[in-house]
């Protein structure tokens, strides 16, 4: 991670933070934007945000660690999110996570050794009619069966 250049921030991000600095209650909106840009909230970026917003770093971490959506760890190249809403759970979401672990040797909340995939169990994404549902890089796949997973992942595994 050290060899990656995270700073300075992009002009767009700086402009966003400058704009939101004027509004009260801006921290969560700013953290969303940071995560959208980097995929996670890196420590050097958090320090920079703290400086720009004039908010203590402890508060930034307090907020970032409270909310499930924010992550401090860099995700894998391809992000798999398995819906763990009730409807999906009843229809076998846990089996999907187990099968993903078998195929990729990676559990929910982790990332594969080659950084290609990270897997998360997420709260309801609201496509309960399609349960069980998972998303890969934001694209929704519905009515997924465990025996389809290998085929579903293949294009992402090959595209290194």
């Amino acid at each position: 991670m050290a060899d990656e250049k995270l700073l300075p921030m992009s002009e767009g991000l700086v402009a966003f933070i400058t704009e939101w600095k004027k509004k009260p209650g801006n921290l969560i909106m700013v953290l969303h934007k940071v995560q959208e840009e980097y995929g996670y909230i890196a420590s050097e970026v958090a320090i920079e945000v703290s400086r720009m917003l004039e908010v203590p770093l402890a508060k930034i971490y307090g907020v970032a660690t409270f909310y499930h959506l924010f992550t401090l760890k860099k995700p894998g190249k391809n992000k798999i999110a398995v819906c763990m809403g009730t409807a999906c759970y009843l229809k076998g979401a846990q089996d999907l996570l187990d099968e993903l672990d078998t195929i990729l040797d990676c559990k929910a909340g982790e990332k594969t050794a080659d950084d290609m995939f990270s897997i998360t169990g997420v709260r309801c994404i609201g496509c309960c009619g399609l349960a069980p549902v998972l998303t890969i890089n934001g694209k929704v796949y519905g009515n997924v069966k465990t025996d389809q997973l290998a085929d579903l992942l293949a294009p992402f595994q090959n595209a290194k």
Binding site: P24, G25, N26, L27, I28, M29, L31, H32, G62, V63, F66, Y67, H68, L69, F70, M84, G85, T86, A87, Y89, L90, K91, V122, R123, C124, I125, G126, C127, C128, G129, L130, A131, K139, V140, G142
Partner: protein, 596 residues
Amino acid sequence: MAYKNFALVCAGTGCHSTDGQEIYDNLIASAEKHGVSGDVQVVKTGCFGFCEQGPIVKVLPEESFYVKVKASDAEEIIAEHIVKGRAVDRLLYKEPGSKTAGKIEDMGFYQKQLRIVLRNCGLINPENIEEYIAREGYQALGKVLTEMSREDVINELKTSALRGRGGAGFPTWMKWNFTKQIDGVDKKFVVCNADEGDPGAYMDRSTLEGDPHSVMEAMAIAAYTIGATQGYIYIRAEYPLAIERLEIAMKQAREFGLLGDNILGTDFSFDIEIRLGAGAFVCGEETALLASIEGERGIPRPRPPFPAVKGLWGRPTLINNVETFANIPMIILKGGAWFASIGTADSKGTKVFALTGKINNSGLIEVPMGTTLREIIYDIGGGIPNGKKFKAVQSGGPSGGMLTAEHLDTPIDYAGLQALGSMMGSGGLIVMDEDDCIVDVVRFYLEFAVDESCGKCSPCRIGGRKLLNIVERMTAGTATEKDLENIEEISDAMKKASLCGLGQTTPNPTLSLIRYFKDEMLAHVHDSSCPAGKCKDLVKYTIDAEKCIGCTLCARRCPVPCISGGKREAHVIDQDACIKCGECYTACKFDAVKKG
């Protein structure tokens, strides 16, 4: 230009994420190719509700209801239906057991529904304000600003007897009146709670995606009534499509002078800002939600003072949920008395439910209060798939309770559900069949509640964890009598001493388990067995030697492998090696593999 036909393409998240956008693009391309672009208008609409059959395309004026449409079907719909005027029979929805397609209003799924909140969903293009205006949109705001005093609005709401749709069911008019009565402050706020965190519920998302203006119009009416100038919509970041549609709607409303300064030429000014949640269930609780809008950790604080007195940044704040707001314009236009004529003595109007789980017609439905569970599950929902037996339905998500077969004929309203140990909640209805283990489902809900507890007060933080430990022991077959006694005590403490609704309602699913599924629970505790065969630690697969014909299919499917036996000989499972994956059980064609 007068169009002959309208092709409405469902663009709710369910349909949209499968093929919706491509279907829309292909319909337009095909219409151009066949030179009928002037005859048919292709419209992206909000959710039709019948998600099970999605993606859906509805063609007007014939009301042809095309289901499970693929992107490649667009060409045929244009070439056959629009050009030649012949419906594409193979895509038309047909009721189970029927070979011909009926009218939409005769479909079992829609027959018992009454759409007030969802009145525009699946009918108008949510990205075009003019379509909303054409359906009486913003007329209620106009009426309020020009003809009604602030007291008139409160009185109309009082007559309507509308109660909050977010879960607790507090009378809406009282909330508005409290906030209105506070004087001598520099600012007041209106907040829309769109933090729909209940897993398995998507009513609010669909409303915002399908008809964002109805919620914004109601917020403006609320602002006028209580004397606010700024509104916030607090919405889950997991709902990108709803956020996008809201942003478009807000931009258009500003252009039309329906948001911003001097709305409709009056001296009333009001604007709305979107604030994103970040995945914290507790933020559905109003004081936690306000903390989150302020950019803080979403931790509830004690009430009183209520938000109506001291809310956002210490100012009086009115918080209503999406569905509550969406009812308001119709109440203003048609009158409180009209609204109060629908429903039961205790609960007026309609309720939107997300019907999911083990049900044939998963989807979004809206029914008058007082509709029975039987009507919802069997008439609208089409019953349980694969001929399985209905076991329970969970209403109110992790905060609610189960209803069983004996409650099928109970009319659904606030008081009725509460008497049964459940709650209306925001409207998730999750159906379970005989294959589902209630103990396992309760474990799932407790795991959720423990994960989502903010940790501020100890009854919730510690009590939830203790309950989860007990139920986990049940699923592992190691729970004791003492555990059963402890459940009641812990639950009682949590209900009485937790700071907010999350902790107070966390024990509900567990209490439901004791109340309605005691036998199933005791089987886990006394016999270490899971009757539904779901709890992996307790399941044992065996092969019935009488029934096994020795086809070897199970042995070939077994991943371990732990099944022995030659061709045409009865097979045996090595229990020590078995990983309980259930492959043999699914594979066997002769019903020889037993689970239990």
